[in-house]
Assembly symmetry: C2
Homo-oligomer: 275 residues x 2
């Protein structure tokens, strides 16, 4: 019989395409797709059999949201060396979910409670020619396609006002009630990328006349759909529907009605989790 101290704790770093999953963990929505956590648990069961085990992610991601380096902890009893365990688990996962790193950790490591900061990135494919509205197939699951003119300076100004410790209640969509909606955003960035003829073929060619906008937000924690609501609001500011100065007022109102639309899930990547 295995003693309890045979229990080992692993840190899993995960990459996944969110398109075919209903998020990291089952949420209110009900549609006929598995969650990322479910397919991981199936893979673990193939390795450990009937043994009871524990897995916990750094936080949820919504249906359609991608993980570039999501983190989870796993507590199992196993004698397999780390490298073999990594290969064995990946062998039992669908090819749009991969464990890219596996590390043995002290027993007290907790993927959610120990987080110091998270970075999210959000991509918008922005048409620069109103008469030529063509989405780029290779990025269609990784970007929000926006075809109206945007003022990037106004967007950067608005985004900058979010840095610091604020009550982000106006940017929280309905979910599990939380004791506090105060969070700290450490850094924000909005950059524009354009590509030449020799760029990778999955990037939009110059004939398409569009730019790839990249939002990057690093913070100590995020509320439900907070990044998507921030991006949706900043895009509405860029479009002229809201003034860039409105951002302070939106925060002050502490009311979801005050902010803008929720940007679609497919443009969002959980990029990094820091411990």
């Amino acid at each position: 019989m295995e003693k309890p101290n045979d229990l080992r704790t692993f840190k899993l770093t995960l990459a996944y395409i969110g398109t075919n999953y209903r998020g990291w963990q089952k949420q209110a929505e009900d549609f006929p797709l598995p969650t990322v956590q479910e397919v991981l648990e199936i893979a673990v069961k193939k390795i450990v059999g009937e043994q009871k085990f524990f897995m916990h992610g750094s936080g949820r991601t919504d249906a359609g949201v991608h993980g570039r380096a999501q983190v989870a902890h796993l507590r199992i009893t196993s004698k397999l060396p780390v490298e073999r365990l990594l290969l064995a688990l990946n062998r039992h996962l669908p090819d749009d979910v991969r464990i890219i790193n596996l590390e043995e950790m002290p027993a007290k490591f907790h993927a959610q409670l120990d987080v110091n900061a998270k970075t999210y990135r959000y991509f918008v494919l922005h048409s620069l020619d109103q008469k030529q509205q063509v989405n780029w197939p290779f990025l269609r699951n990784y970007t929000w396609y926006v075809s109206y003119p945007l003022d990037l300076d106004k967007m950067r100004h608005a985004l900058g006002q979010l840095v610091g410790i604020h009550d982000f209640k106006s940017f929280q969509n309905r979910g599990t009630p939380l004791p506090s909606t105060v969070r700290e955003i450490l850094a924000v960035e909005l950059s524009s990328h354009r590509f030449g003829q020799s760029a990778f073929p999955w990037l939009p060619p110059p004939e398409l006349n569009c730019e790839l906008l990249e939002f990057r937000l690093r913070g100590t924690g995020f509320l439900k759909q907070m990044v998507r609501t921030i991006v949706g609001t900043v895009v509405e500011i860029g479009r002229g529907k809201l003034a860039p100065e409105a951002m302070g007022d939106i925060l002050a109102q502490k009311n979801r009605e005050a902010s803008g639309i929720t940007a679609p899930a497919n443009g969002l990547f959980l990029d990094q989790v820091e411990y």
Copy 2:
């Protein structure tokens, strides 16, 4: 009644993800997916109704092969302005196929017969650490994953021997018999890309310890699966299964048995067609 001179000729530039198609045009293989040409013809029918029309591609692409800028001509009777026709056709296409440019051409333009040169690009995701074999989910449909060591110098030497006018019979897979298997390769290139932590999230992160190899071949014409057979052979040379000097001998033998494996379809992009 419309007169025959109402017939207009258009040049369509097309981007498509080949993953869910059984190629540009129905071939010998029989599997339950549409072809790219089929979905385009369905879209054209929605616009022109019962009218008979003609469409012809610059050449076939295999099942799983991607188009970054495939070209086809379309002869239809229509009074729609070019811009509206482009929008209308795209509206009736699945989102993994897009017409990225539409141009009216002289009646004699022929997408296949008028080709001056074509460029193909092929991508290999190459693991640099034998103990860490993890494919990157975001590129799994766009790259061939190779986990063994490769000697890039040998590969470049072998590839260079293909430039010029040669009988490429040894690199042709079975297909429609052709009057000649002599073709001209104008340029070849093999480059290696590595990515840092701030690269786009669909590119492999540094922790994955891999490189993205890119083959680029520009030629006046290519035989059936010629690029894939060249890439497969060059990879076998890089692996040490064949000597780099063997390339001259392989060409001289004019026999498919002399060359190496056919690289998988998913790493291949038809990148450009020149007229």
